[in-house]
Amino acid sequence: MLLRLLTAFALLSPLASQAELVIVSSPRSGPIELSREQAEKLYLGRTTTLADGTPVKLVDLPSGATRDEFYLKLTNKNPSQILAYRSRLVFTGRAYPPLEAESVTEARQWLADTPNLIGYLERADVSGNLRILLRLP
């Protein structure tokens, strides 16, 4: 009975799509070097700066498949694990959640216009006025 329930829940979870995700920033930022480890630290609220000490801000896409896949690929945590983890940081005032864009278009606009703002997009959504910092195949 328990096993059947567990299987049912497993099937309910959304299947990850296979799109390539990339982490991007504005070309107006200075030269940015971003390792996968540093990106994970940033999105898990463990740091607010690049490896060289430059402060950066982060963008989140609205709730949905692309955002879930990004966190799963980068941090190995599913959506509820991410929120549980982050609520501990937020409700102690230790870290702020990333700025949440209302759409991919808004995220792309913010990222193109604002120096030292970092975000993620599907590879196909990246426009010419963005610089790719890291690929998450």
Partner: protein, 390 residues
């Protein structure tokens, strides 16, 4: 205080309406709606000495875990921000009326060094900073065998946080200094000049904590039963020190969390040493769980052991059992499950079996002295709760 809140909320609302990205102010909240019952009417489950007991133990009781919290944050300057958080929950000191849990200014002096001034949380345990945010943890509540060793949670003072990279991990060293006060079921108590140091190591899927604190302790018994007991013991031996302003206490805790391939292990050890008024004890727990997508079943074993009865009491050995009501030693086995039913809502359920140690009634308080003389038998406790963040 109420007026202060109204003003603050208005300021926050005005701030967020006017702000463009990035916002200067934020308002968020969290909560738990939970019920607990035991299988014996004269055993009320209480996770902390700050909760009072009423009604039969077999009634579904919403007062143990239910909590609502609101938090406001704001950037004042690139390096300066503030956090204010208030909660409403049942506790002897503030019985559902708003209680400020965080209210501090934070100054990021350098990327590595942060100073916080105001009300923060005593960092005595690994999960001290999120005791009210049940959504953040797999359990219905942190194991009380460990977490009732220290009921003080507010720290009015200052702390320094210093962060050093250690390979792929980060080490955070925290030094703190301040005062704290708490109203408990049968006593009111203060920590004066509490000072301590904490080490936190955080890596990918792993974190560890170790902390030490030393503080002056003042304690006054105020419930009828405890006061009567104190009077009785003082009459027998006028040197018995059962309350006063001369206590010194040390607190130590260490623990880790590990998460990999959907497995989860959490373990923690804590010890309090007190030179008078209350007993010295240590406790530990181990939790293991597994993430099946949205379901996380877990199991916890936990134990609290008394090291010595209130040592300032200096009573004759035959009178020592009179101190038993101050001994909470017990062991527990809990099985539970967290079910994330929506992105920001988790449903939890837990069943546990608790055995009080010999000479203890465990964490089941009673105002009836005779209850402490009854032979111990296992108590089963059932809990159900909904945790949410917004």
């Amino acid at each position: 205080m109420r007026q202060f809140f109204a003003t603050l909320l208005l300021a926050l609302a005005a701030g967020s309406a006017a702000a463009d990205a990035p916002p200067r102010f934020g308002l968020s909240g969290f909560g738990t709606l939970g019920v607990v019952r035991s299988d014996k009417d004269d055993y009320h489950f209480r996770s902390s000495g700050t909760q009072s007991a009423r009604g039969p133990g077999q009634n579904f009781d919403p007062s143990v875990d239910s909590v609502l919290g609101l938090q406001g944050t704001g950037h004042l300057h690139d390096q300066l921000d503030f956090t204010v958080q208030a909660i409403s929950r049942q506790a002897v000191g503030y019985n559902y009326s708003p209680h400020i849990t965080w209210a501090y200014l934070r100054y990021r002096a350098t990327p590595a060094l942060t100073v916080r001034v105001g009300r923060t949380t005593t960092p005595f345990f690994m999960f001290s900073d999120s005791l009210n945010v049940n959504f953040a943890t797999p359990w219905v509540r942190p194991p009380p065998e460990v977490y009732n060793l220290n009921p003080f949670s507010d720290l009015d003072g200052i702390d320094l946080l210093y962060r050093i990279p250690v390979g792929e991990m980060d080490l955070e060293i925290q030094g703190f200094f301040g005062n704290s006060a708490v109203s408990a079921r049968s006593a009111s108590a203060r920590l004066k000049n509490a000072k301590g140091i904490n080490f936190g190591l955080v890596g990918s899927g792993f974190s560890a904590h170790a902390g030490y604190a030393r503080t002056r302790l003042e304690l006054q018994w105020d419930a009828n039963f405890s006061q009567a007991l104190t009077r009785l013991l003082n009459a027998v031996d006028e040197n018995a020190e059962l309350s006063g302003t001369k206590g010194t206490t040390e607190f130590f805790s260490a623990g880790f969390q590990w998460e990999r391939n959907n497995w989860l292990i959490i373990a923690e050890f804590a010890k309090r040493r007190v030179d008078r008024y209350i007993n010295s004890a240590h406790a530990w727990y181990v939790t293991t769980g597994y993430h099946f997508n949205n379901l996380t079943p877990y199991a916890t074993y936990s134990q609290q052991i008394q090291d010595s009865p209130a040592s300032g009491a200096k009573l004759k050995p035959t009178l020592m059992p009179l101190l038993d009501p101050r001994n909470n030693a017990q062991q527990g086995v809990a099985l539970g499950v967290r079910w994330d039913i929506a992105r920001n809502i988790a449903l939890k359920s837990q069943i546990e079996r608790i055995d009080a140690a010999p000479g203890s009634r465990g964490m089941f308080p009673s105002d009836v002295a005779a209850d402490y003389l009854k032979p111990a038998s296992p108590v089963h406790v059932f809990s159900m709760s909904v945790d949410f963040v917004f």
